[in-house]
Symmetry: C2
Subunit: 137 residues, 2 copies
């Protein structure tokens, strides 16, 4: 194999296997829920130092680049907004796997009582899916 | 140069220059604003087919992975949530450059009247910064 061939193969191999953002398929999710004002300090404390087992399970379930933002939209009305990226092949299966994890279940016992689902949410559960109306790669 | 050296240099070069997500420093922003219900259809139409000049200027100003989500949080009260990533060295300078772009100015003449800043926003401008309370790489 000549030097130039080796370089071309190495570059292709790197871009296909090393996690270049332009190659890896990603599903993006935006979610919203309410946050009870009296629970804000505890919610922030938990999420400032998330339990290692919870973080490990998120990664095990192919979640990455996951941010939660907080905003007060009306006086005394606080909301949490999640943006996360999923890189696996079966989102529902991975969410079931996460829900079956004992550490994650204990985490949710702490976080669920902090949150207040929005009044317009029709199904059960804490977070409401938002509709994406714009995307720039 | 031997073949193995060529491969090592090519792999390093790829990871440093080809945009691997793990190498590039990124600043993340979360913003929120209101959306007037009577302007929802037009706002969606605009953002479903954003003007090429606006998209080009966003990229020129080092914005990437930019999503806008829509949700109705109280009956008749709609909000927009932005998540975007900035990869440049001077966010304020790039925002000034964007604001000076004639195409972007024309775009904002269409979009600004659709939006309704949230009532708790203290400074002027359309979008309110949100506070990030959690992040997973």
């Amino acid at each position: 194999m000549k030097k130039r061939q080796a370089v071309v193969i190495a570059v292709l191999g790197c871009c296909l296997t090393a996690g270049c953002a332009t190659v890896k398929p990603v599903q993006r999710y935006g979610w919203v829920t309410g946050l009870k004002p009296e629970k804000m300090a505890y919610y922030k404390e938990l999420h400032g130092k998330p339990w290692p087992g919870v973080v490990a399970k998120l990664k095990d379930c192919h979640i990455q680049n996951y941010s939660i933002y907080l905003a007060e939209l009306e006086p005394g009305r606080h909301y949490l907004f999640s943006y996360l990226e999923y890189t696996g092949d079966d989102f529902q299966a991975d969410m079931k796997k996460m829900a079956a994890d004992p550490t994650t279940q204990r985490w949710w016992k702490e976080t669920d009582p902090c949150q207040q689902p929005v009044s317009t949410k029709k199904d059960k559960g804490i977070w409401m899916d938002m509709q994406r109306v714009f995307f720039l790669e």
